[in-house]
Amino acid sequence: MLSEVVEALVFPGFLFTLGLGFLFEWIERKIGAHMQGRIGPLVTGPHGILQPIADFLKLLYKEEIVPTFGDVTIYKIGPVLYFLAPILGMLFVPVMGTRAVATFDLDVLFVIFLLAFSALMVVILSFASESSYTIVASGRLVLQYVSYEIPLVIAVITAAVFSGALSLAGVVQTQSNVWNVVYMPFSFIVYIVALMAELEKPPFDIPSAKTEIVAGWLTEFSGRSLAFLKLTKEVSLIFGGGLAVALFLGGPLGPVPADPLLASVAYTVYFLAKLLAVGLLIFILRTAMARLMIAQVADLFWKILTPLALAQLAFVILLRGV
């Protein structure tokens, strides 16, 4: 029983995800800076690696201003719920081996629910802090959410249908020799684009557009809640990326030595490598694009990505059926 708790709390669970979250935020800032010819964080820690942690800690002990006219209770508990969703999700992503920490049969559906839950939590949060900016931001959030949710779900379902299993562990097992992405490159692309929309990475960072509506739905948050919200953005990148790895890139599978302990280490290394690859892909795309207008985002998703995802699903069903 103890090893279950340790696994949940320390290794592939809570602390591991947090560490990865800070690491990936550092990678993102560094890559973004270097692509723009800058250096990025340098002073805090070796090559500025401790910069995200320093920002997080600084925000923790800053004063927290709670808007009186907003819905105060949701304003207080909201960030914590929003923070828990991806953390919980990470428990279902197989890291150490084909079985994740807490896998049960229909966890693909549960994972989709978690994705949807964190998106809607953002909308509730932005309504809770009643300022003219956040109301506008929530309008845009809903619009963006509606546009990317359908293709995202279709992409995930395609992978599950093809592997014939509704649990992530099952999907990973069927990919032992050939990764899913070979059969369904389009749904992988759709998944990545939809994930960037969910994480509000440019070109889809309209709800929290820095230059337009101040900080969008983040405007009213400060101190601890802001610290958690920023961290959640990174952690949900890890969760989303982990899902992409599990569904399309064969999870932690790869040539592995026999001895079980060494095997789990090798699995983790594969998983981290693939996760890093997905992360790099997103970071490079993020720096190379301008921000789209909300109407263009809806156009992009409804007119291009959804039919693409459906076509891919049909193709996979045909392939599977025959």
Binding site: R29, A33, Q36, G37, R38, I39, G40, P41, L42, V43, T44, G48, Q51, A54, D55, K58, Y61, K62, E63, E64, I65, K210, T211, V214, A215, L218, T219, E220, F221, S222, G223, L226
Partner: protein, 128 residues
Amino acid sequence: MNACSCNGCDIEIVAALTPRYDAERFGAVLVPSPRHADVLVVTGVASPQMKDRLIRIYEQIPEPKYVLAIGACACGGGVFKGCYNAGQGIDNVLPVDMFVPGCPPRPEAILYGIIKLLGKVKGNRKPS
């Protein structure tokens, strides 16, 4: 924040963020909302029209907050001393922690001001 400035200091502040000077090395990043900010960077002579808005913005920043006055105008009215619509510098509007003189100060001087401010922050550990 532009409290009635001629933009000279503003473009030098923005230049301090671009590749050649890159304030992000020290972790200084543009933050879109006062709620997220720690340091309020003010330029300009704080003319009467802008004074009360300057104070309102200052109040929206959570503790511990610092004010960095950049440019001769922010430090003491600068070349516009005596103009009928120009104040005498930011310090009789807000409690200023760090002055960066110069019209406009070079981006290196602005970075030096930020680092000195960081030094000051380390000095008093508990929020003021």
